[in-house]
Subunit: 116 residues, 2 copies
């Protein structure tokens, strides 16, 4: 279970929740499928370990942003998560926060006087 190419995991902190919500925006998914979706959407850059995802999903459910139910398909049992109303709002908030976050950090990193 190797780690993401060049992406340091400290940097992921505080952005996992938003990504999980984003992945679940238009379809309910179970944990394992969420990990695959993250890998695909990131072009292979993101390989999030189960020890990160499962606790995070439970946290988001406790917070009311996700709801889960067990779904059995072809002999396989999966806990499937979907966004709640609160989850949709949290996703919108996460996107807005991401925007200001990148503006601020990006601006500092580039240095003063650079607009682009």
């Amino acid at each position: 279970m190797r780690q993401n190419e060049g992406l340091n995991s400290d940097a992921l902190r505080g952005h996992m929740d938003g990504m999980l919500l984003a992945v679940l925006e238009h379809e309910p998914l179970h944990g394992y499928a969420i990990i695959e979706a993250l890998r695909e959407r990131s072009g292979g850059a993101l390989d999030v370990p189960t020890g990160t995802v499962y606790p995070a999903l439970r946290r988001l459910e406790r917070a009311g942003h996700l709801a889960s139910e067990w779904v059995t398909t072809g002999g396989r049992s999966r806990r499937t998560y979907r966004l709640t109303g609160s989850g949709h709002r949290a996703l919108a908030a996460a996107r807005s926060a991401w925007q200001s976050f990148t503006d601020v950090i990006g601006g500092v990193l580039r240095g003063p006087g650079q607009t682009a």
Copy 2:
């Protein structure tokens, strides 16, 4: 000592080092001035506490990216930090990492199929 507007501190994780290096790129500064520079460059969004900055500066010095010396001006003593060669390389690496980081996270947050 109030906190940054809307910026959650988990999100800062792993990006402080790069910002500190960026602020020191063209001129040596002491800790207190670095905090002010971060506030100015971020348009007031970033108000980093001393308990974050001073340990971080020491860490970066131990890592060889910064060098420090005590400078006394007008009765005031300040530990002034400057970038080393290794620090300049680390800053370049941080900028490159920031680019891929925002590409990856931004891409996932936006959802599939969106180029812009």
